[in-house]
Symmetry: C2
Subunit: 217 residues, 2 copies
Amino acid sequence: MKIAVLGTGMVGETIGSRLIELGHEVKMGSRTPDNEKAAEWVRKNGARASQGTFKDAAAFGELLFNCTMGVASIEVLASAGAANLDGKVLIDVSNPLDFSQGMPPSLTICNTNSLGEEIQKAFPGLKVVKALNTMWCGLMVNPNMLQEGNHTAFISGNDEGAKAKTREIMHAFGWKDENILDLGDISTARGTEMLLPIWLRTWAALGTGAFNFKLVK
Amino acid sequence: MKIAVLGTGMVGETIGSRLIELGHEVKMGSRTPDNEKAAEWVRKNGARASQGTFKDAAAFGELLFNCTMGVASIEVLASAGAANLDGKVLIDVSNPLDFSQGMPPSLTICNTNSLGEEIQKAFPGLKVVKALNTMWCGLMVNPNMLQEGNHTAFISGNDEGAKAKTREIMHAFGWKDENILDLGDISTARGTEMLLPIWLRTWAALGTGAFNFKLVK
């Protein structure tokens, strides 16, 4: 499949490389067509990897991953152009983290709203699925690195077809279906985004991001 | 030990009964000395159980459990009187849930502050330990009902001695030490209180409160 990865940070690189490894064609989008980090990622990932602006990437992708900083996501998607987004699935792994007041970051939006909801409202033609935003990126694309993959990922979104498509991609990453919990519509992204404060403090307590939470019942 | 349980709701009843079972003397505190729910709890729990006002209970207890609704906690503790709180450990299992806008509740305080911190600020003589607030009360006092107790409880607080005392009580409830994660000072209660939104949505998705999250690493 042709997939757009929006964002050139560690999350974008990790997800982009894994998608290439799985046989997809991936265009990494950034503000400029010749972003150096994206160029380096393309050099590493071979012929199925390419780069462009956010607009180029969105036009290219049949499915999109939002790997931008949460505070920039709405602006990035606006620059991609609604016509390049309409009808497509956006897997939103971003979090509305505010680093401006130091560490650990707080959230720019939470409690009675979420970034996932804001993106869905701003781009009603997109099928937004909040997913994989509750863990370190290495684990997003390779859950089996911990406890044979037996820990939990959450998904939230209004469109059942888009959630099914997201599950397919997650299965390819190594997620077992029974470890993916569908919380409901996109408003449930409040729950997963608000998991970040304990994620950050657990990360600080353990000194590593290689952990996740498993639902035990 | 003489322990005060502040609050007559399901959480207070459950914790109070378990403490009685473990051999402690427990006074359940409420707004009035003759609260009917507390009286019923006393009748069920025998000679080591008693009831009184919040002030009576705080005066009685060497250690206190805050099992009141989060929105009422500061007022309840104020009515208990600083002299009855000073130097004592308060295990705070409450959450700042706002039910006024319907279900699921939002939080009255979060992100850059927490109820745990507000209680600590309002009553500097108390040694506040946020604990056990991330799960259903049945599980708080009996972790072994799920997966041999192998799931995670978090503690937050400024006083190391108070956290050690809290661990002792939790051990008696059945918590293994390796399943108790000390996140740090009381500001880390932001993390555990903000776990409530995903807890509430997971509860809705599963249709039961008999679940918890396990840290997998």
